[in-house]
Symmetry: D2
Subunit: 365 residues, 4 copies
């Protein structure tokens, strides 16, 4: 029996969109039908070189796109007729404008973490709630920070139980190309609770009233860094926790003293490895920072590559929504292999998002 591939369209070919497009194209069970945008700059050269059909999202921009030498195969309306699922990666606010179009075309929809939860009334993060998304029509893949937090917290919660979470985020000012953005030589606090705590609750409702987050933004562009305190229900040793992370997918834990002392050296390592765009969709925990005190508090610092970290979760969301894979761990393994982030020995057992969430759904049904 020939299994049909999932037909996927990517709207918005920016920082996230271009990566989702590449990731979809790399999956053996998916087909990238096209990318849609309004830009006419060098970014589209890459799409054209990779033979991604280019659609024009807003007809007004067609002339400039053509003038810049890009072949336009159709409009956004044409693209969505050809696909099973659209991944909308346009800037915050735009997906809600496209929303009626998608609904009318009856295409499944994934939006990104910049959108509000209420747009889709459901948020997704593999480690948190994969099982709740089997067959659903639309969702929002949570932001880079929340994706990373979910992976860490869900992993720890599944194994040890979690009663309290506090995370202090140090956010990069903007992505490297957002060169119009500051601050230069300053630290700006988020004035109030940062959205990351509440956002985690959208994919791990068990944490309601148990999580708080503060955030600052500053003069760097490579990544976010989280300083985390988690109070556990049980009393593992530091070694137990290190070992747990060592066998968890999409989380790396390494000693900084091996030449990975900071985020720039981390980037260099991934440049050297030959990773496309030096992407590191894995959470990276500095092993020396992980510790556990006598009061069951677990502490650690980890690095979050904001440009690439939610990409695997986008792929997982497609499989869940189209019910291409019901077992969360099989889905994660497929995605990771296709993205060359496969981690040996990390795909046994299951994930919190496939267990707790499933039960919740059954109970809720």
């Amino acid at each position: 029996m020939v299994k049909t591939k999932a037909r996927v369209g990517v709207v918005g070919y920016g920082i996230i969109g271009k990566r989702v497009a590449d990731a979809v194209a790399a999956q053996s069970d998916m087909k990238l039908i096209g990318v849609a945008d309004i830009i006419s700059d060098v970014r589209l050269r890459i799409a054209q070189e990779r033979n991604y059909p280019i659609y024009c999202s807003v007809p007004d921009f067609e002339p400039s796109m053509r003038e810049a030498g890009y072949e336009i195969v159709g409009y956004l309306e044409d693209l969505i007729k050809e696909i099973d699922v659209v991944v909308d990666c346009t800037p915050a606010g735009v997906p809600s404008k496209n929303f009626p179009l998608y609904r009318e075309a009856n295409v499944k929809l994934i939006v990104q973490g910049g959108e509000k939860h209420v747009l889709t009334n459901r948020s997704f993060s593999t480690f948190g709630n994969y099982a709740t998304h089997l067959g659903v029509d639309m969702t929002r893949v949570v932001s880079c920070n929340t994706t990373a937090l979910t992976r860490v917290i869900a992993t720890v919660a599944q194994e040890y139980g979690v009663s309290d979470v506090f995370v202090a985020l140090a956010r990069r000012a903007g992505d490297p190309t957002r060169t119009n953005r500051g601050p230069i030589n300053a630290i700006a606090p988020v004035l109030g609770v940062s959205h990351h705590g509440p956002d985690l609750e959208t994919v791990m409702p068990q944490l309601k009233d148990k999580i708080y987050s503060l955030a600052i933004a500053g003069s760097w562009t490579l990544s976010h860094v989280h300083m985390l305190k988690v109070t556990l229900d049980t009393t593992p040793s530091k070694e137990d926790v290190v070992d747990l992370f060592k066998r968890t997918p999409r989380i790396l834990i390494e000693l900084g003293k091996q030449g990975l002392y900071d985020s720039a050296q981390l980037v260099e390592y991934f440049r050297d490895l030959g990773r496309p765009r030096y992407d590191r969709p894995e959470v990276f925990i500095w092993e020396e920072t992980l510790s556990k005190d006598a009061r069951n508090n677990l502490y650690m610092i980890y690095d979050v590559h904001m440009e690439s970290i939610p990409i695997p979760e986008n792929i997982d969301a497609i499989r869940a929504m189209l019910e291409m894979e019901t077992d969360v761990m099989r889905c994660v393994e497929k995605t990771d292999k296709a993205l060359n982030i496969f981690k040996k020995g990390a795909y046994e057992g299951t994930l919190f998002g496939g267990v707790v969430a499933k039960e919740k759904v059954e109970v809720g049904a």
Copy 2:
């Protein structure tokens, strides 16, 4: 009756030393006998302009200092014969070399937070343990970060009780003039527990086993920023806590939305105010970041001007060690007036460091 002024010498005329010198010179009950150093660059022009007698710390450097046009009135050995107390602000490691000289001369000694606690076997921070320092011979004024932390924690502890502290520090890469220091465009975690937690215990031993800290350093030079979580014993409202800070000396709490959104705008405000060197020896809390949850956790983000924040505490330490003032609040008020950081209505009652510490001392005696 004519009261003799305390005779003070400052050794090391760098970032901290030049400020301590100015601060001593500004006190009506102290006299700056001289500053000692080995440098011969433009920094000494300021000392000369302000008529601070300049001593040469190491005779080998005398020729270069004289050649650069600076009048040298004597050596370090000469300076310490003329003084009651020496404030050693030389780079980390140097004070321990000067130590025997000071001991032999029987001069009281203050070192800075870059030194280890064991050098003086005692550490000082006004808000934490002023009363324990009456008449003592030597101490170490804790670092900028610990000074700030002590002010905040001691204030909260005195009023509400504290059972757990977690602080995530975002440290500036280096002082503005340390232009040889990075990182540029990177975040470097402190690999392990940062020293700030243990350091706080040196001035607030009550917190033993109740505090933990993580830290990163990054690409900015203006200040440190702390993201703090404190678990309280009682249940004040947010308004209570804001009000408490509003009537505490050396702590400012203001709304960021008044044009103080980040640390650079904070600096600008102090530039505009005409503060010398735009110094802000006060802890600055962004009011919008302060919150309290239902589990008695208090959260906040504040700014720590590393160059100036321990200066008032150095002055207080002199007064305590020479028993010039036994009441902590009177000492703080004097210091603050002389440094033009007087805060209206903030010097009533007493401070934790004058109460708890005193009792401890009495118990321990």
Copy 3:
């Protein structure tokens, strides 16, 4: 005989405006009638503290200004009735909107370098063309970069003659408080000729077709830096040129190796000196970078403090336009004394802007 003081109003109390206000208030022959703005943030606290009457530029903003606690003494329309000259320091584009109001009120007008030359059809820089401005009704004080360039080029031109100028500018990203501006970790070229070359011609038309400039902007906020090549008509030695700059007002030339290796150390020196806001309205030339080759080319690197450098020129412009002082050097000396940037032995002879320009005017008359 009682000499009436010049009555001055400052519109726009931002980076430049607040400094012009302070500078006007410091002159014995001027009176600051008031400052006008629409802001209601902490910046106005300073104006209020210094007893500068505050006017509201746009009535819509009056409520927010009053709500923030600022006393408003009138509207912009009221202010301009009380003054002889208005210095408009509002953001680029706003002065042209205020223009009809000023014309109607028959008040003399100074705009800043962010405006286009055509708005006032005349541009001013003391060293370049003071004498052409005696009694004129309106002008534009050229930008920080052009002001600095004019001082250096006019000084050299007067003494040695100049046949060709090339300047490569490295611009700061934004003023320190413009924390929304990047780039972080990137260099952005000005795509085309930078405006500085053409702009210099507005105050030194003799340089037409003799000057070219290229510029980049990058990740720092303290100052602009110019790398300059000037081809001279005559053949002074390096020592001659150093000596020339040593006796020129508003230009400092010092050895970097004295602890002034970079712009941050320069700032520190001015912080230590106690300069308000660490301002350095003087061009600062690193002496080691100045050299002269066998082909009569003069090279140098200098620092331009963008926030303060055109302030003295604004004061000079007021005196020229109100014919308060016809001798350029006497005007410069007065301004410099009042601003505490007086330089011993630097006010003999005259300046290019008082000589060449005057002749030109006479010829043109």
Copy 4:
């Protein structure tokens, strides 16, 4: 007939060394015999993964290298016995210590631009003097900045003649991983003539007394940027010059307005292209910045990727020294194809370094 491949060893596996190793391994006429170093950090993982035999440069470090899990196949002494040419990429100063060893082993030697010209008494840059290096025993490939400058100046000199060069360099603070290096938020001038002018003369002696350079360093890590003024002997139009660069190898000229406004966006384009380590060994000229005035001066701004730009020249140097290719353009074409920087239509005619230099050699012989 089987042609033997050149046997190459790379000593120093850092920023340059790791790239030279990859570049050698990519050439069909060369064989990488091994890399030698003393490090034991994650950088060596890459060498091991790519099956580059690892040698230990200093026996003292062998234990730490082995402990870190790296297989050591021999010492530096062993490596140099197996090779025709050694490319020494160790930090400045180390090659001179290795020098006697290399001489004794009679291996040909290439050092990098951080070394002094006198060490090898000869410097190399393909575009400047390829033909002078046929068969020579040792040379120094000039630094990244000089390599870029040579490409641009030699190209222009060959076509139009050059009578005067002035370059203002804005240097990155350090390579991205040198996170211990500043300055942060400051600009530091090179105090004196920068070495780049004199350095260019080592490969283009025709420019003696015709070139001068000034330089600053600042708070960024991605690249150097040059602002260039060249006085030509003839009068091409801007279009002529753009066209010239468009058909020159290793030089890209593109419009910034296509989304390449700054160096960060340039990096992003090369990340997207899939270039290993986002390397861009080509000089990149912002087309909008190129202009020509009526006095035959040519101006432009270009970007210099310091990490990769001298890599192709190292490969060329090997071919010249081993006389594997006497025609400079054929050599450049081979190198560029192997490094995936081949530029269509750019390898016709010859290069300055193959013509002028050859004549010079013949005259000199």
